[in-house]
C-alpha cells in the first residue's frame, strides 16, 4: 500500500482519507461491546423470524406474544413444583454435605472410609441412577428429591474435603499452641479457610442438582418445568417451549449471580465494611 504513495493524485488521497475514516468509525463501533451484541442479536433473531418454521422452531414474534400468558399459566406453576423438589434436595445436600466433607478432612478414619466412594460417585454420571431411583421410589416427589441429593451431594462433599485438607498447617499449629479445642479450631480456622472451596462446591452442586431435577422431570414427565417442556414439544407448541427454556435460562443466570454475591459476601468480609451505602451490609 505504501509503495503506491508516489503517484497518488489528490483526489485518490482524499478518497482514501474518507475510506480510512469510515473504516476507523467501523472499528470504533466494533469495539463497543453493546453495539456488537445488539447487532448480532438483531441479525440472529431476524434470520430466525425469516427462516423459522412454526412446526419445528417457531418464531421470535410468536414467542414474545405467547410469553405473558404461557409464563403465568404454565411455566410459573411448573417452576413452583420444580423448586419444591430442588429446594428440599439442595438443602439436604448443604446440611449433610458440608459436615461430611469437614469430617473427612479432619479425621483420617472417615477419610479412608469415604474417599473412594465419594470420588467414584463424584466422577460418575449419576443420572444413570435415575431408572433405579424410579424403580425404588416411583415417580413422586421422593424420586425427584433423591435425584437432587444424589446429584448435588458429592460436589459439595468433595470440595469441602479438599478445602479442609488445604488449610495452612501453621494456622492449625498456632491454634493448638493456644490450646484451642477441636471445635474452636474447626469454627475459627478450618471453616473460614475452606470457605472458597465450600462455595465452589455449592455452586457446582447447585448446577448439577438443577440439571438432575430437570432430567428426572423429563424422564418421568409428571410435574415440573421439565414436564412442561416435554408436553409443549409433544403438542408441537414450540413457541411455548421457548418460553419455558428462556425462563429457565434467566432463572439459572439469576441464581448463579446470587450465589456469586453470597460467596463474595462470605469470603471477603473486608468488602462489606469498606463499601458504605452499597449492596454490602455494613458491620461498623
Amino acid at each position: 500500500m505504501s509503495a503506491g504513495g508516489v503517484e497518488t493524485a489528490v483526489a485518490t488521497r482524499a478518497m482514501r482519507g474518507a475510506e480510512t475514516r469510515a473504516r476507523a468509525a467501523a472499528r470504533a463501533a466494533l469495539d463497543k461491546p453493546w453495539v456488537v451484541r445488539t447487532l448480532s442479536l438483531v441479525v440472529v433473531l431476524g434470520a430466525w423470524q425469516l427462516f423459522g418454521n412454526a412446526y419445528s422452531t417457531s418464531f421470535p414474534s410468536d414467542i414474545v406474544r405467547a410469553f405473558p400468558h404461557e409464563f403465568w399459566h404454565h411455566v410459573a406453576p411448573g417452576f413452583a413444583d420444580t423448586l419444591k423438589g430442588f429446594g428440599a434436595g439442595y438443602g439436604v445436600c448443604i446440611v449433610a454435605g458440608i459436615p461430611i466433607g469437614l469430617a473427612m478432612a479432619r479425621s483420617r478414619l472417615v477419610e479412608l472410609i469415604c474417599e473412594p466412594y465419594v470420588n467414584a460417585l463424584y466422577a460418575t454420571p449419576r443420572l444413570a441412577l435415575i431408572p433405579v431411583l424410579i424403580l425404588w421410589l416411583g415417580i413422586t416427589f421422593e424420586m425427584r428429591f433423591a435425584v437432587v441429593v444424589v446429584s448435588g451431594l458429592f460436589p459439595i462433599v468433595l470440595n469441602t474435603y479438599l478445602g479442609g485438607k488445604e488449610v495452612d498447617s501453621n494456622l492449625l499449629d498456632a491454634g493448638r499452641a493456644f490450646n484451642a479445642t477441636g471445635l474452636q479450631a474447626l469454627r475459627t480456622i478450618v471453616v473460614p479457610a475452606s470457605l472458597p472451596y465450600i462455595f465452589a462446591g455449592l455452586r457446582l452442586g447447585m448446577a448439577r442438582s438443577f440439571i438432575g431435577i430437570i432430567v428426572a422431570e423429563l424422564e418421568t414427565s409428571v410435574l415440573g418445568i421439565g414436564n412442561v417442556i416435554n408436553r409443549d414439544v409433544m403438542a408441537l407448541r414450540f413457541d411455548h417451549m421457548w418460553v419455558a427454556i428462556v425462563s429457565l435460562g434467566v432463572f439459572s443466570i439469576a441464581v448463579t449471580a446470587l450465589l456469586k454475591w453470597a460467596e463474595r459476601w462470605a469470603t471477603m468480609p473486608w468488602l462489606r465494611a469498606g463499601r458504605r451505602g452499597g449492596l454490602w451490609p455494613s458491620r461498623a
Binding site: 419445528s56 460418575t124 443420572l127 444413570a128 427454556i245
Partner: protein, 283 residues
C-alpha cells in the same frame, strides 16, 4: 548446596524415628478400605434378601448378571461400542468446534461480542432442557446423541481456550509484532503454544462432560448404548442385569477421569494443575 542439604536433612530423620501411624501405613489404609467394602457388600446382601426381586438384587446376583453379559451372552459389547462411538466422535467434534471458536473469541474482540450472549446463555442453561426438541429435530439416531454430546462438552473447551488466549503475556504479542510477524506466524508461534495448557484443561473437563452427555442422551431417549441398556432391563424389571450397565458407566467415568488427568500431566507438564497433581500423587 552443602548448606541446603544440611537444612533439608532433619525432617527426613525425624520421619524415620517416629513410626508412621497405623492409618497412614499401606496396611492400615487397605485394612480400612477392605473392611468398608466388605461391610457395604454384606449390608447390601442382607438387605436385598428382604426385597422383592424386581426392586433389589444382592451383589451375588449382580455378579452373576455381569458374568452372563460379559462372558456367556456377550450382550454388553454392542451397546458399549455404540456408547464409545458417540463419546469419541462427540468429544473430537467438541474439540474441533471449541478450539477455533475459543481462539477467535479470545483474539478478536468483535467475535467475542458477537458470540458471548449465546454462549453465556447456553452455558448457564441446563441444556438437558433441549433434549425433547433435539429428539424432534434429529430423531433417535447417532446425530442426536452427537449433537447433545457436543452441546454438553463444547462450552468448557470454548471458555478455557478463550481464557488462555486472553491471558497471553501482551509483551510476547508485542515482540512478535515488533519483528513483523504475520498473523499466521503469531498464531502458530505465540498464541497456540501459550494457550495449550488451557486447551488441555478444557479438553479434560470436556471429556468428563461428554461422557455425562452420552449417558443422559441415552437414558432419556434412545434404546442405544449403555443408557439404553439400563432402560431396557428396567422395563423388564431385570434388576440385577440393570446394575451391570450402571457399573460399566461408573467404571468408564472413573477411567476417563484418571486418563484425562494423566494426559494433562503428560501433555502440559509445566501447567499449574499438572504440577499440583504430580505433587498430590507424590506426597
Amino acid at each position: 548446596m552443602a548448606v541446603a542439604r544440611v537444612t533439608a536433612a532433619p525432617p527426613a530423620e525425624r520421619r524415620d524415628v517416629r513410626r508412621t501411624p497405623f492409618l497412614y501405613r499401606p496396611v492400615g489404609i487397605w485394612t480400612v478400605r477392605g473392611l468398608t467394602l466388605a461391610a457395604i457388600l454384606a449390608g447390601w446382601q442382607l438387605y436385598a434378601r428382604h426385597l422383592q426381586r424386581a426392586l433389589g438384587a444382592p451383589p451375588t446376583r449382580v455378579a452373576q448378571a455381569l458374568w452372563g453379559q460379559v462372558w456367556t451372552h456377550h450382550t454388553i459389547y454392542g451397546p458399549l461400542g455404540s456408547s464409545m462411538e458417540a463419546l469419541s466422535l462427540g468429544f473430537l467434534l467438541s474439540l474441533a468446534i471449541g478450539i477455533p471458536v475459543g481462539i477467535a473469541m479470545g483474539r478478536w474482540r468483535a467475535v467475542e461480542h458477537v458470540l458471548d450472549p449465546y454462549i453465556s446463555f447456553l452455558y448457564a442453561l441446563p441444556h438437558v432442557a433441549f433434549i425433547p426438541v433435539m429428539v424432534f429435530w434429529l430423531g433417535f439416531r447417532l446425530e442426536f446423541r452427537l449433537a447433545y454430546v457436543v452441546l454438553s462438552a463444547v462450552f468448557p473447551v470454548i471458555i478455557n481456550t478463550m481464557a488462555g488466549v486472553k491471558n497471553i503475556d501482551p509483551e510476547l504479542l508485542a515482540a512478535g509484532r515488533a519483528f513483523c510477524a504475520s498473523e499466521r506466524q503469531i498464531m502458530r508461534g505465540i498464541v497456540l503454544p501459550a494457550t495449550a495448557p488451557y486447551m488441555v484443561a478444557g479438553g479434560r473437563q470436556a471429556f468428563s462432560s461428554a461422557w455425562v452427555g452420552v449417558v443422559v442422551a441415552e437414558v432419556l431417549s434412545t434404546q442405544d448404548g449403555l443408557g439404553g441398556l439400563i432402560n431396557h432391563y428396567a422395563d423388564y424389571f431385570l434388576t440385577a442385569d440393570m446394575y451391570v450397565p450402571i457399573l460399566a458407566i461408573m467404571a468408564i467415568a472413573i477411567t476417563i477421569q484418571n486418563v484425562a488427568s494423566w494426559l494433562q500431566v503428560r501433555l502440559t507438564p509445566w501447567s499449574n494443575t499438572a504440577r499440583r497433581e504430580r505433587g498430590g500423587n507424590g506426597g
